[in-house]
Amino acid sequence: MRKERIIGEDEAAAWIEDGMTVAIGAPAPMALVRQVVRRRVRNLTVIDSGLSLDLFIAAGCVRKTVSYYAGGHLGVPVLPSFRRAAQSGELTVWECEEGILCAGLQAAAQLLPFMPWRGGVGTSIPEVNPDLKLFTDPIAGETLLAVPPIKPDVCLLHAAAADAYGNVRHFGGPGWLDLYLYRAADRTVVEVEQVIPNEEIRANPWATTIAGADAIVRAPFGAHPFYSRGFYKQDVAFVAEYFELAQKAESDPASFQQWIDRYCRETGSHADYLERIGMARLLALNEF
């Protein structure tokens, strides 16, 4: 019999161990992110942006981030916890940008020792990130950046649907970097709104965005407070509440940590979390 790849959210989160490099897709697979926070994993290198990156940092999980963008919500130009940790030196920032990040992920995916990239030539990025080397190309003699492989141990993604065998479908296109992250990672877990029959996958193979995810986690509303295209909209007020607390955390760290406890550490399961959010709130998002 063909083996199914559906696992529980706790089992998936246990794939993440202290010190690993973890890549997070878009929208962030928040059900999995919360489980990782709950397990108090430490010293991660995180490839991520937005609220989930900030939450990982605030929860003490992160030592280093591979960062191309750490902006927050409207009116929050820089993620508050990221900013504090970076400024204090607690957090190491592997400075890059989208093109460099994708080049490094491609090098990892293709088992090449580097990829050449032009974006970043002339900037301070290779100065502040010594892993990026300027070199002279062997064909035309141009100066380019050599980007070393960026190798996630585990990639965590959110998607619309998958079959039991790891064939994944996104609705409205995969997140920004999802496919790059998947290709580079040793193992990929995808949380999905729905598990669908293999026959449905087979009826439209082009719709399969990732063939062969290592594990699938059932997580309806798993991206909350983010959107999941085709299922629900962003919970804008909830995100705003997070950033308000995160911004005030310098003067009031307790309220912020209580919030993290309430939504990530005290909730044993994704179902617990959704209970705390409440049906009315979830259904109000459920328009598309």
Partner: protein
């Protein structure tokens, strides 16, 4: 003449810059640019293609293109014709000479180099940690031209030297500042602020006053600019929004008045 906000004026200035058939990349947090793109598309740019967060679209047939659109906006799904930018964003840089984009910065120097990394001397102990470069280093290297758009004209932003450069404009100056290091893109065309429009003078490629917005004095501009600005003898006034532009902007783009707040 109708009253209008600074952001509305900036939107009109930028809309006039866009040409039919271009591919315009829409970012976040530059509301004037977001409005400008929509205005151009609905008026003189029916063949402009918009790229919003992975979706590529042409929506010139719509009665209205409301703003803003965020990554989580379901309209992206409704409007898109392809997700060619999603998961294979950098697969075809060769047509980026037809692309245009808009960039902000926590610091901008006289040659249009911009900084999104941070402020301070020591990278490991920044005084202000910025959001990071997003895709601006690659975009600014390849696109046909781009526009620096600042929501505030501030001497702490417009500085003689950026602490860090995340997107290379005209380097330390000169017409060959870009070709010398092999960048195929055309570089920054204008810097548009709530006070004025600046360009990059051929020869030096140092920032030069191009036009001053109605009601703003040269002295004000100089006082609010943190570097010595190249000022030609004649500096025209920026053309105010026409009635048609404002009608388009307010009734078909910015119906909620985000640019007037």
């Amino acid at each position: 003449m109708a009253e209008y906000s600074n952001l509305e004026l900036m939107a009109c200035v930028l809309a006039r810059e866009l040409t039919d058939g271009e591919i315009v990349r829409v970012g976040v947090a530059t509301p004037a640019a977001e409005a400008a793109i929509r205005m151009a598309h609905l008026s003189h740019g029916p063949n402009i293609e918009l790229i919003f967060f992975g979706g590529r679209m042409n929506v010139a047939h719509l009665e209205s293109i409301p703003m803003p659109a965020f990554p989580w906006d379901r309209r992206i799904v409704r409007w898109s014709e392809s997700y060619s930018d999603s998961g294979h964003r950098f697969d075809r840089l060769k047509d980026w000479n037809r692309h245009v984009f808009f960039i902000g910065g926590i610091q901008v120097d006289p040659w249009g180099n911009t900084n999104l990394i941070g402020i301070g001397k020591d990278f490991s102990r920044l005084r202000f940690r910025g959001p990071g470069s997003v895709g601006t280093p690659t975009l600014s290297s390849y696109v046909g031209r781009y526009y620096i758009v600042l929501n505030n004209h501030d001497p702490r932003v417009l500085v003689e030297r950026c602490d860090f450069i995340s997107a290379y404009g005209w380097g330390r100056g000169g017409d060959d500042a870009r070709s010398r290091i092999g960048l195929p893109g055309g570089g920054p065309r204008l810097c548009v602020t709530p006070m004025c429009v600046m360009d990059f003078a051929p020869g030096t490629r140092r920032m030069r006053l191009h036009s001053i917005h109605p009601g703003v004095s040269l002295a004000d501009v100089k006082a609010r600019t943190g570097f010595e600005l190249n000022v030609p003898e004649q500096v025209p006034e920026t053309a105010a929004p026409t009635a048609a532009e404002l009608e388009l902007l307010r009734n078909r783009v910015d119906r909620e008045g985000l640019l007037r707040r």
